[in-house]
Symmetry: C2
Subunit: 553 residues, 2 copies
Amino acid sequence: MTHPLLTKHRDKLDAATAAIATREYYSAYPESPSPRVYGETAAADGKAEFEALLGKEFALSTGDIVDHVATEVSPFGIDLGIHYPRMSPDTLIETARAAWPSWRDADPGTRAAVCVEILDRIHSHVFTLANAVHATTGQAFVMAFQAGGPHALDRGLEAVAYGYAEQLRTPATARWEKPAKGEPLVMNKRFHIVPRGLGLVIGCNTFPTWNSYPGLFASLVTGNPVIVKPHPHAVLPLALTVKYAQEVLSEAGFDPNLVTLAVEDPSDQVAATLATDPRVRIVDFTGSSEFGDWLEANARQAEVYTEKAGINTIVIDSTDDFKGLCRNIAFTLGLYSGQMCTTTQAIFIPEGGIDTPDGHLSADDVIAGIAKAVEKVTGDPERAVELIGAIASTQGVERIAAAAETGEVVLASRRLDHPTYPDARVHTPLLLKVPGDAKKAYGTECFGPITYLVTTADTDQSLRLVGEVVAEQGALTMGVYSTDESVLEKAERTALDVAVHLSCNLTGGVFVNQSAAFSDFHGSGANNAANAALTNPHYVSGRFTVVQSRRHA
Amino acid sequence: MTHPLLTKHRDKLDAATAAIATREYYSAYPESPSPRVYGETAAADGKAEFEALLGKEFALSTGDIVDHVATEVSPFGIDLGIHYPRMSPDTLIETARAAWPSWRDADPGTRAAVCVEILDRIHSHVFTLANAVHATTGQAFVMAFQAGGPHALDRGLEAVAYGYAEQLRTPATARWEKPAKGEPLVMNKRFHIVPRGLGLVIGCNTFPTWNSYPGLFASLVTGNPVIVKPHPHAVLPLALTVKYAQEVLSEAGFDPNLVTLAVEDPSDQVAATLATDPRVRIVDFTGSSEFGDWLEANARQAEVYTEKAGINTIVIDSTDDFKGLCRNIAFTLGLYSGQMCTTTQAIFIPEGGIDTPDGHLSADDVIAGIAKAVEKVTGDPERAVELIGAIASTQGVERIAAAAETGEVVLASRRLDHPTYPDARVHTPLLLKVPGDAKKAYGTECFGPITYLVTTADTDQSLRLVGEVVAEQGALTMGVYSTDESVLEKAERTALDVAVHLSCNLTGGVFVNQSAAFSDFHGSGANNAANAALTNPHYVSGRFTVVQSRRHA
């Protein structure tokens, strides 16, 4: 019997599955917040739904509650004051386990269809979600909409497609007939998908949905209940996600507590407690290298998937479009004030300069060109804040000041007044010039709007330094600009050696720090920035196993 | 350009790939050692090739050698005296890494074809290998031939098929075209298979080839060099494997040192040293839980795949063929003296007895029936040794004596004289009766010809005890006998809960401790007996990643 939701979502699942196999363009959720796409009232309705939540207790399905806590602090200074129900770690775990059996025993197609229904339900509230992401992360609204909504939903759907496909690799039954003297040996075999067990998703402050949906949906589609533990400063986007998931699960006849919210009292260590509990079998984490490494070392009873810090780089060798190069890099550095795990931190430029169609430019010309382009996109505060947003944490602001001491300031960071939010933490990017041997500066992660322009003897040295830094620290992205095919091939070899994804000669509307679901991999799982890639078969296949039985026919 | 070996092996790869998808019967290497299959002179030629190696230095491709060492002790008392070239751990690692680049950069099809050629080359010396396995493990010759030759080669081919298929999941290139205002954004993308890095395969004494081939070929086909570290008492089967692999690699234009042999001086800790070296990126291990757990905890820089100890069980509830049940269990317990990681250690029988077509039998009747069947297959020494072989280690013999103190002896173990090898360690199975609460006895792994017959209140208690023991200790196999479909379903639920593969009502020519490549999974990776299954997609997909590059079209 095919579940009605599977009939409903068959085409979307098929399209997603086809896309991950071809890596061609696909998106299930429109990224434009335009009223032409979403309807005239969608934006206002979402804003109203968001505002109605402020200062109230947030309603969710839970087990026994200890209390309600409010931990959020908006980088824009928006007063949130939402109180979330808090369960103890033990209640969280037992509530999830009690909800498990019917989901565990559902067939993969039903689970995949229910997951798509959850994604669609979230999407039907995408403006509410966008307001929540905007308010809690400091992302400008359009970015909060796109990255926090459709792009996150696409990444969720991608995980559903991979998880669904992976469960179909082994047939449910087989007839095995082995030739023998006389009668053949004939066995009937059954193969069961056995979900691994309770999952825990630990979200981050800057991308609460985009970075959590892959793990959430990968665990869910493969039959596991999931506890969602948001960053204390960005709870609402995941609380909404849990709420919509619970609605759909209930409607589909499953226990809503298959997906629950773990909020923390500022004094406790709920993430560490949950992650190391023997009953927790899967952990997905995005955040600091320190806690990610700790989880890998200590949550030994679980499959642990981490995305941590790294040093993303661009090597500039030559270009046939210097203006395009500067514009593209300026957008990359400005977007959400460098608070993407994929934003470039170090840009390598040969001391002798580079060739361009307009003639040879010195290293300082190149640096000046980039600085000017950054100035341009951040010059007008009203337009700037729609690109750079706000600094997510007060530590982020402190880091900018501290970093200014670590190199020659090419472009100073300025505090801007936000036209809408007077208390917003808005700071323009800081650009620093350093020599290639200042690896201690540019080779240490400095999360936020801080970029090192590193001068080197030549492009070979640039690539060598990139290889060294990434081998040590890891990275999610690498860029290269060159008109010389042999340099591009050398850069590709460096990228393969340290397992980092490479973008070549980006001068238009694609940016090194953006990856497209279904086509671009995010992370490789093979350097220190992440132990897993979003998303590939390996990311889902450890979340279940196949157990067989056999008997004579 | 298709490599000529890929053209040669296309059909075999396709057949293996089809079999793992359907789980239907398939075998590439005939399991019968009959001259009708292998030719009149094959057995004698293999024996001669084996004997020509005894007492000599074994020739292999290596880096700088420290010395030659001879560490083997045959359970049959066969004088081996073969001296193997020993490299230091650092030489092993650097030699393998130096050999790597051209293999790393070869396409997956070429690598798969070379791997099949290696398997075929080993197969062309299968009688030599069988003699080596027989002499070093204590397996009777026919078993050494089958399990050490064709069945091991099938498991190797299965890993090649999985590894090859997995590398084709992502296309080599894609054209990505995103609709945009005006012109679409168009990117050309390249996706590269990036092998994880140096592999280490740590073999065991009892199944040097069967348990090592999956890891060896899974790492090799995905582009990684492999250091093969045999158990010091069972070096020859893997030394031959390395030798044939090196021959094929050289002939195919690759560096023979992609596969090398690590032998140990009895005083050093080469396995631990290699496994924790930062340059070693994949570890496959079969052996004790103690060292397996240590590897999982300490070889943190590597992907670690372990197969360790567990408690395999059978639950007897009722049967429609009591004689078949006894015969089947007796063969399972006798085969290679219980020295298979899949052999049953505890058989649960309700105190009130069981229903059979010949009427109700008491628990003691059931126990007596099994004991009698074991006596029957071990009564005549000449026939018995062809089933039970020899005890692999002196500790194994000591364990039999110690175990006799832990329950009521139902059938005592006897030492038998081997008709061919006067010094062989041949001991018949020991059967002990214990109550259900003697979990300390039957729930502690006791590797060798030792079986506990556990009486319980009823089948529900039997299943509960199985669930508890396997949840704690892990297991690779579980059996059940019942004529009641609801009991079989309950047993299946228990098997799923602890992720152990189940065999129902085996009374003929299939045994609970045997698994067929391409159809049966070996281990689930989801209980303490093993952290991986042989073989599923997850077993191969962590041995490489995909790194992409993109540029505007």
